[in-house]
């Protein structure tokens, strides 16, 4: 269970400061596929990055499984991060490493034996259906294949949580669907909690069971996906849903 309590994040520039998140409170239960949706600049990526402390909140508390992680540093911080997988819009694969070596990376930095890293990486490539590409380099793969590799990499440490930051925004509809299917399968089969950052309501509708709508750093709506779709309380939410209807 991930509990975000009164999270505020302020970015200080030279003369101005900008509130990216204001008093955000929400709870993500184990096994959820939790959508965080909003337009660009709403603060959703910042919020996701607070969960693995890539961003440190300016105020508020983050608890994961009842442990307050807000002020983790040093070894605790690195261990926390290695227990949370993350995938990115631009895949962020290591271009000089093969597919197999990319998947081995999180295990390698944990200090696992080379043999174990390899065996585990092959298992994971099996899960995402890319064993035959093990010795290819990322530049030789399509966008969808690259995202599958990064999902395999995110799974390497047996995480209980995976953060997806606009994971399908760079992909076409067909590829998006296959990636979302894969995420749903991982959620179902491995019981991994998935946090989905997106600006697309159709992504939310396809895989999320719960959703928080973020606007200008505030949670303006929170509920199950059905609730939000059936009865949006906020103009911004309606607009985001409207987009789905227009696009079909």
């Amino acid at each position: 269970m991930i509990e975000l309590i009164d999270i505020t994040k302020t970015f200080d520039a030279a003369n101005t400061s900008h509130d990216a998140l204001i008093d955000v409170t929400l709870t993500i239960e184990d096994g959820d596929i939790f959508g965080i949706i909003g337009i660009s600049g709403a603060g959703k990526s910042t919020l996701a990055r607070c969960i693995n402390l890539l961003e440190r909140p300016s105020a508020g508390t983050i608890r994961i499984d009842d442990v307050d992680i807000t002020n983790f540093t040093g070894r605790d911080l690195l261990d926390l991060r290695s227990s949370i997988g993350m995938i990115f819009q631009d895949f962020s694969l290591f271009s000089q490493r093969t597919v197999l070596q990319n998947v081995m990376f999180p295990l390698e930095i944990r200090g696992d034996s080379r043999q174990h890293c390899r065996a585990r990486a092959y298992e994971l490539l099996e899960v995402v259906g890319l064993v035959e590409k093990a010795n290819s380099y990322p530049s030789q793969l399509s966008g969808g294949q690259q995202q599958r590799v990064s999902i395999a990499r995110a799974l390497a440490n047996d995480p209980k949580i995976i953060l997806c930051d606009e994971a399908t925004s760079a992909l076409d509809t067909l590829t998006t669907n296959s990636i979302l299917d894969l995420l749903r399968q991982i959620n179902r089969d491995l019981g991994v909690t998935i946090v989905v950052i997106t600006h697309s309501m159709s992504v939310v509708r396809k895989i999320c069971n719960k959703v928080a709508v973020l606007d200008q750093g505030r949670v303006i709506e929170l509920g199950t996906t059905e609730e939000i779709f059936d009865d949006p309380q906020n103009a911004v939410t309606s607009e985001l849903i409207g987009e789905v209807i227009i696009r079909g």
Binding site: N52, L54, L77, L78, D79, L80, R81, S82, S83, I84, G85, M86, F88, D90, S92, L93, F94, S95, Q96, R97, F105, P106, E108, I109, R110, Y137, S139, S150, R153, A156, N157, L163
Partner: protein, 227 residues
């Protein structure tokens, strides 16, 4: 025909060993200095990259001081640096003359250059890739070693011929101040004695060596770069 043949054999008989020795001296100065410059310049470049504002370990003081040292090193023309460093060279190598005497100033002149090249190469690594490594719990050292250097390797490899060729041209200047090598031969014979043939020979050798260095560099980059 017979005339030109005998001209060549005469020329090689008279200057062949001189040119070979000069070439060897130039190559030793170039490659030993390049290796040492990378040995010293790489950590310096890493420190510069890491301590820069908004980087992984921002440190304004360290970044300013290092940047300042590097800029000083790069702003002094080599021929002046060479003369200024004569005492230091005597201290480190025991002499300021010959190949051994040239190494100290060559390394000191090229280390800041290498540091900047390394810094630039490391900065080219996409921040998303670094963030991905952080998100998997990589320590700073692991990020430097397993991500930054590894991802920047093609760019670093591409800059190596630039450094080697720059140092190569420095060795010619060093030649003027007693270091020996092809530059020294070109100046002594070509300039002081008006022996144009010797000078032309050194130029041909230099052009050939530079072509070889650049070609080998290009082949290496093609093998390394997986992007």
């Amino acid at each position: 025909m017979a005339d030109s043949m005998s001209f060549f054999s005469d020329f090689i008989a008279r200057y062949g060993s001189l040119l070979i020795q000069g070439t060897i001296a130039t190559l030793i100065m170039t490659f030993v200095s390049s290796a040492l410059a990378y040995l010293l310049g790489t950590p310096l470049g890493i420190l510069l990259m890491m301590s820069a504002p908004n980087s992984l370990k921002p440190n304004r003081t360290l970044y300013s001081v290092l940047g300042w040292i590097v800029n000083i090193g790069r702003s002094i023309p080599f021929i002046i640096l060479m003369v200024a460093l004569i005492p230091l060279s005597r201290l480190i190598m025991g002499t300021s003359l010959g190949v051994a005497g040239a190494i100290t100033p060559l390394v000191i002149a090229s280390t800041p250059f290498v540091a900047r090249l390394i810094e630039n190469s490391l900065q080219e690594v996409p921040s998303g890739v670094i963030e991905a490594a952080q998100s998997y719990g990589a320590s700073t050292f692991q990020i430097i070693w397993k991500v930054l250097l590894s991802e920047a390797l093609p760019s670093i490899a591409r800059s190596i011929p630039i450094t080697v060729i720059t140092i190569f041209s420095y060795t010619a200047i060093a030649g003027v101040v007693g270091a020996g090598g092809l530059g020294d031969i070109a100046v002594r014979y070509g300039y002081h004695r008006y022996q144009t043939d010797v000078m032309v020979a050194t130029i041909i050798i230099m052009i050939f060596l530079i072509q070889v260095i650049q070609t080998l560099g290009n082949i290496a980059v093609r093998r390394i770069d997986k992007r």
